[in-house]
Symmetry: C2
Subunit: 322 residues, 2 copies
């Protein structure tokens, strides 16, 4: 959990965002309220909400409108996780039971749908047609990314494919988060475009680090098995670097020629080798490349406490334990 000082400028706002999100099920079926409370209590970092609020603050957008946007973004993100966990059959997220671990598939699908509906409602409550448009567009991009992943062949080691995938999965929503928050503030078109790029770079870095952590973390911290991506046949950046650099490692060779791994032993070995190789460092450098661009963009924005927090978040993203 991020309990660090860079959330300070928006701590009260984040509490308000939490209330707004929980309130979304108030007039609906009591089990929806239970589900929503369960999901929202599962210890998310609310990093997207915090970024929304900070970008808002930097550009003079405070109060209801930016709270609604932050709630919409966080709710959209959470809704996609509900369906993801169902589709992947994941029983734990951040160490807590997922909704589908406790509910029927049908109830889980519908709860995700409900959250999409309420996220869309919250986005429209910002009264900005432009925000509404990019919000809906982003959901389409995220879902399309998941569909592409579902239908693409396993163990595809391809940089272009990787970039497209992490853009859809993560960077697109970070991009929309920052862009929409800027739209709601007192901003020029250039500043809005700057914020879009800032969010994009932040999101790309965020996902690369997540993909590194998947190799380096401990099961207990990750709340899922180490190397879960590779186990599912998903080749992320550390594996791409490793396969590029050590194509003669027998396990790498097998993977590249057969398009899959032979057995659990081989998989565990390869995860282990990658996690101890310089592929981790190389991936990290790539993430830092993105955050450097993000930081560069920030230097051009109005100096204020919110901007300092955004810098700190940007640095934090690549400094997370790995």
């Amino acid at each position: 959990l991020i309990q660090t000082s860079f959330y300070t400028p928006v701590q009260d706002d984040l509490a308000e965002v939490d209330l707004i999100m929980r309130r979304q099920a108030a007039d609906y079926h009591p089990d929806l309220q239970k589900a929503l409370d369960h999901i929202l209590s599962s210890g998310g970092k609310r990093i997207r909400a915090a970024i929304t609020l900070l970008v808002g603050k930097m550009y003079g957008s405070e109060g209801d409108v930016i709270h609604l946007l932050a709630s919409a973004i966080e709710m959209l993100h959470t809704a996609t996780l509900v369906h993801d966990d169902l589709i992947d059959g994941s029983l734990l997220r951040r160490g807590n039971p997922t909704l589908n671990a406790q509910w029927s598939p049908g109830a889980t699908v519908l709860t995700g749908d409900f959250m999409f509906a309420r996220a869309a409602r919250l986005a429209s409550d910002t009264n900005s047609v432009q925000v509404m448009k990019i919000f809906a567009e982003t959901l389409g991009i995220i879902v399309n990314g998941e569909i592409s992943q579902l239908f693409s062949r396993r163990c595809l080691a391809d940089r272009q494919n990787y970039s497209t995938r992490i853009y859809a999965k993560t960077a697109s929503l970070f991009e929309t988060t920052c862009r929409a928050a800027a739209i709601l503030g007192n901003t020029t078109e250039n500043q809005i475009e700057d914020m879009r790029k800032f969010g994009y770079n932040l999101g790309m870095a965020f996902q690369i680090i997540d993909d590194i952590l998947d190799f380096r973390g401990e099961q207990i911290t990750l709340g899922k098995p180490v190397g879960s991506d590779l186990r599912q046949g998903l080749i992320t950046l550390p594996a791409i670097y490793y396969l590029e650099k050590y194509p003669n490692d027998p396990n790498a060779e097998y993977l590249l020629s057969e398009g899959c791994l032979e057995n659990e032993k081989q998989t565990v070995e390869l995860i282990q080798t990658i996690s101890q190789s310089d592929a981790i460092q190389l991936s990290h450098q790539e993430a830092v490349g993105y955050t450097n661009q993000a930081l560069e963009i920030l230097t051009k924005q109005p100096a204020c406490e919110a901007r300092s927090s955004l810098e700190a978040i940007t640095n934090y993203i690549v400094d997370r334990e790995y």
Copy 2:
């Protein structure tokens, strides 16, 4: 299929709506396009789109904006069907294979999500914040209705519950269809409220007739077994009337005391008895009550070809073979 004259004033518009809907997957994964084409080709009547266009025409809203709204409404409706069929495990709709009959549950969930996303995008393309808000709100109501149905006990014979359920399932979207179309036209607040009520009454009638057809239709026409609601423990209006009037029918008595039916034989018998009883006529009268209110509202609207078509649709809804 409705091939009757009341679609005439909007025939070209409906063709355009079809194009807009199919275009929604153009920049995405090719399998999404396939799925969308499959779903859109499964012979829906596009009655919601037609009503949108006709209400629009009555109030001088033509061209792109109303086409976008009609596409958004129809796309939203279709997306909910995709998830419904998955949850119910239905393999046929209108006699055609459902998406989940051919695709994995995961791909089906995501295709529905994608359609929600594109529906929201289309709604926001109308550039009306108000339309966007009621659109998102309606999705919440529909999904909440499905959740309530999933969690409510089987064989509940209760009028209030029935009304709430068919409002959520059908009337809420008809209401939003007509209200949103009116919002986009040159209308007074009163006319918008009139159209909301018109849509509500139309939707309530539409669902009651659907529930009658579930008893009276033939499997081949329905594309599902006769009496499918009762088989699933869902007590619709004809059953409610029957149970009220003939509580001493042994099968009715069993249902009322045990809260369920004992076996297939009893179920088939009760479906048969209800379908040949005056409960059908009584339910039909109730639907006519709603359409009479809808027609009454129409008399106050500007006389034009579109209004005549709306009258014809209203009459058609309660005149469908039953």
